[in-house]
């Protein structure tokens, strides 16, 4: 129980770190875009990101996020935002697909700065599959907690939902999503995130 809680809080503890923002920001944008299916998108995004991050460490996924694969990823990312925008409701396959594929993309591109418990998960991923997959999911819930809270908030406070339903929020999400997709497609994703981090770190 303590391991689960510690794993969750280690994930929460790195929310503002640059290595985490590369997974969190595209997810938040996707949730803003998916006005009719925020929770579905958020949940599947988290699951997709956790699965791909784990699969890479466990040796079940061998496609490197380099070269032509990243260009293709840019187009796939654009597709997830389009699907999320068009998703008519929670049960829509568009919502499920956008969340799952968007999350998997984030998990694939994620280059984590590895802390103590994430290190243990990654070190043991190939030998303790189900346990480490579960812990990775918990870690990812921590990392992506802001995104999940944005998705849950309208259920707790309907007024928040009415605000988030406004078009400017969806357009802001779509703009971030477009920048993310274009940066990937032209191979400038690392430069973009690096520049943001450089500015915030004061170098």
């Amino acid at each position: 129980m303590s391991t689960i809680f510690d794993t969750l809080t280690e994930g929460i503890g790195v929310i503002t770190w640059a290595c985490t923002l590369t997974a969190l920001v595209p997810g938040l944008a996707l949730v803003f875009v998916a006005r009719q299916a925020r929770l579905t998108v958020a949940l599947y995004y988290t699951a997709g990101a956790a699965f791909l991050a784990w699969a890479q460490a466990a040796g079940h996924w061998w496609v490197s996020a380099r070269g032509a694969a990243v260009v293709i990823a840019g187009f796939v990312a654009a597709g997830t935002y389009a699907a999320a925008w068009r998703a008519p409701g929670h049960s829509s396959p568009l919502a499920t697909g956008a969340g799952l594929v968007g999350g998997a993309l984030a998990g694939w591109l994620w280059r984590p700065c590895v802390g103590e418990l994430l290190g243990d998960i990654l070190n043991d991923a190939s030998t303790a599959g189900p346990r480490t997959l579960g812990l990775m999911l918990i870690y990812m819930v921590g990392v992506l907690l802001p995104l999940l809270l944005v998705a849950v908030a309208p259920y707790a406070v309907p007024a928040i939902g009415r605000v988030l339903d406004r078009l400017p929020f969806a357009i802001a999400g779509a703009t971030v999503g477009a920048a993310y997709a274009v940066a990937l497609a032209i191979g400038k994703y690392d430069d973009l995130t690096g520049e943001m981090y450089r500015i915030s770190a004061g170098y």
């Binding site: 061998w62 490197s64 700065c113 103590e116 290190g119 990654l122 907690l145 809270l149 259920y155 690096g194």
Partner: protein, 250 residues
């Protein structure tokens, strides 16, 4: 009427659950933000901590971990004044995890006159290779432990090599690396892996991680390979180096 009431109650329950999730989530974020523990004790401090808790539960991790922990316990007992029952159980051998790669296509070296990993290996029994980058917070958390290891073993045939593989563009700037290394107290050799060529060659698979640390013995075999900044990882590293050194000298 009854149907509406049931619907409202359901809605109310759902709303309460959502509100609970929201409150707990926000509370966890706030709590984590104000209560960030410093979990990077120096190696000696960590070994001392084990001395007073010799009954620590055995790890269920890899054989390497178990063997190293056994060695750490052995080390700890030598510093304890109270008599400790001796054990006849020999520690498990440190496994060979494969042959180490070389470092190639580098942009140069800092803090050393050596120009290759082979030169450093030729002058030492054991080489500790860590992939890091100065902007990575988890890497920074390991530097105290590495500094201690470097200070304790540099005259005994152990060298630490920090392979600096930048994650972001500004971390590739050599002036920034020199400035950061001085600021962070990194006095051991730094290999400039600006293109991350070695980062990807050494870390097989689709992705690489910061930090990741290896121990290479005199036969160029990898004897330790761990990801992450865990204090226990660096305790294991220290103990592994100590054990390997003892083996090399017998």
């Amino acid at each position: 009427m009854g149907h509406t009431l049931r619907g409202e109650m359901k809605l109310s329950l759902g709303r309460r659950v959502a509100a609970g999730v929201l409150l707990v989530g926000v509370a966890l974020i706030v709590w984590t933000a104000v209560d960030e523990p410093d979990d990077s004790p120096g190696v000696t401090e960590a070994v001392d901590a084990q001395t007073v808790t010799p009954q620590a539960a055995p790890s269920e991790a890899s054989p390497t971990t178990a063997a190293v922990e056994a060695a750490t316990m052995e080390t700890a007992t030598t510093t304890t004044a109270a008599p400790v029952p001796t054990t006849t159980e020999a520690p498990e051998p440190i496994p060979v995890l494969g042959t180490a790669f070389t470092l190639s296509k580098l942009d140069g070296w800092l803090n050393t006159e050596a120009t290759s990993l082979e030169e450093i290996r030729a002058d030492n029994e054991i080489t500790v290779v860590q992939f890091w980058t100065f902007g990575c917070r988890n890497c920074k958390k390991t530097l105290d432990a590495l500094a201690e290891l470097h200070a304790d073993f540099r005259d005994r045939g152990v060298e630490v090599v920090g392979v600096h593989s930048p994650e972001f563009g500004y971390e590739a700037n050599v002036d920034n690396i020199i400035e950061a290394a001085a600021e962070l107290g990194v006095v051991w050799p730094i290999a400039l892996d600006t293109t991350k060529y070695n980062f990807h060659v050494w870390q097989e698979g689709p992705t690489g991680y910061w930090p990741r640390v290896y121990v290479i013995d005199s036969d160029n075999q990898i004897r330790f390979d761990r990801r992450g900044d865990g204090a226990h990882t660096y305790r294991e590293l220290y103990a592994t180096v100590e054990r390997l050194l003892a083996q090399e000298n017998t």
